[in-house]
Symmetry: C2
Subunit: 286 residues, 2 copies
């Protein structure tokens, strides 16, 4: 099952998820000078994948940055995924889709079977079970998984996620459903192919969901540029596994401000991923 592959990847290469939020603003001038934007983004992604594939568990490709470049950008998204797969890497499509019935089925087809197919995608729970069930045929196939948004890393996550719903916050109600939905898709590693997104900016929430929902594998955003550090994400783990921690700008944009950054951006990306891995693992129980 896909979740076993992710678990093994964390075991072998650590819990870093390299976020390919490749906007034009983040691309080195040297690449933009010789290639059209979407091609420059693809070349950049390929080089970053090569430079970090052995120090990360997986890649996360944030589709918004590619949608902003139009059809050419989506070709780049597709080709980036294909390149990472060629390198044997796992890819999370950060699409945060959420829709129902025939529309949900179309999203599932697009992101689990079609040109944009990744290994796992992020899903928004607001519409409930009907927005999750379209993915089940692919989960049952064994090679796909989803991460449902539980507690996101942004300040206004509290607008709704922290609302008190009788006995507990909304995000805990969502986490509870995620755990329930995931029971039929548990791999040999003990985690479910239905995972959850829980931000690094709320260490106490991470600790709560980790202890209450031991079967839920976490995708943890918010490390680095958004403020979370190695200590903040430590509660996400159990026996040094059970979570991947995403960083994007702090890895792929690490070259910025360096005198030789425009030439050696892959070096800085690799170094940043390596340093991040150290920063996280130093806080884990051994």
């Amino acid at each position: 099952m896909i979740i076993d592959r992710l678990f093994d990847a964390v075991k072998q290469r650590g819990p870093v998820c390299v976020g390919l939020d490749t906007s034009l603003q983040l691309l080195p001038a040297s690449l933009l000078a010789k290639l059209p934007p979407a091609q420059a983004a693809l070349a950049f992604n390929q080089e970053v994948i090569d430079a970090t594939v052995d120090v990360c568990a997986c890649f996360k490709v944030q589709i918004a940055h590619y949608e902003a470049m139009g059809v050419d950008g989506l070709s780049c998204y597709r080709d980036t995924i294909a390149y990472a797969h060629d390198k044997g890497a796992l890819v999370i499509g950060d699409v945060k889709r959420g829709d129902i019935a025939s529309t949900g089925e179309m999203y599932a087809r697009a992101h689990m079977d079609g040109e944009f197919a990744t290994d796992m995608i992020t899903v928004n729970p607001y519409m409930g079970w009907d927005a999750i069930s379209p993915y089940l045929p692919y989960l049952e196939r064994g090679d796909k998984g989803i991460f449902v948004l539980i507690r996101t890393s942004n300040p206004s996550a509290q607008d709704f996620q922290e609302i008190n719903c009788g006995d507990r916050s909304l995000f805990l109600r969502v986490a509870s459903k995620v755990a329930e939905w995931g029971k039929n898709y548990i791999g040999d590693c003990g985690y479910s192919a239905i995972g959850g997104v829980v931000g690094a900016t709320g260490p106490e929430q991470l600790a709560t969901v980790r202890s209450e929902f031991p079967l839920v594998f976490f995708l943890v955003p918010g490390y680095g540029a958004q403020g979370g550090g190695g200590k903040d994400v430590a509660p996400a783990f159990r026996d040094r596994n059970g979570a991947v921690v995403n960083a994007s700008r702090s890895i792929i944009g690490a070259y910025r401000g360096q005198p030789d950054g425009d030439r050696r951006y892959t070096h800085y990306a690799r170094t940043a991923a390596f340093t991040m891995r150290e920063d996280i693992t130093q806080w884990q129980e051994r």
Copy 2:
């Protein structure tokens, strides 16, 4: 402002929103026989737009169906929007995006300024204000708007949207925020460019949000194939305006099962849109 244009469109041509959820399964065999899939979908959309533009307020293009066709499908999505705009029609991009910070800005750029720009898009509120604020620069420009998911039309909407949050359901908390966020973007018509999605399958919810939040314009899904009828959507309106009601399969797929459907699909689409308009307006106070 965009909301005034939508208000005028409803006034002039009635509240029907024609949903272009154009999946391959819905395309007439005659078109699929002579064109590649994505081109057949575009040709179909163009013909349906021509056949219904004078009996509907706007079109809603559901991007999932195009994503499922990959990069070619997204070219079709882009070209469908451009065609509708050429005909002077308003277009809602049903993308249900929801993300924050730089990622939210990229979605905003993609769907309000880039190749995929429509007039209004649907937005998911789970991440709170941070998932709304990226669209404000475009709303301030005056020519764009958003519809925030409040109460969707699917059965499991109740999983979270109906959760009791102290004094009221989550969807009413969301509606309350939508109304608050929208106060700075009110057009001459009295409605805000920050509207809300409220399904036709919950007439009592429609009545509640209509009376409590008079500034919020509604996009109402769930009519037709999903079970809602003219009577069910009546509570969405005030003085025969303030809402558009979407139907997709029951309009663009109306030709199916008709002996001459494969040849006269535009006739059946037009007739279905016309009949739907009658069905809705007969229940409105005059």
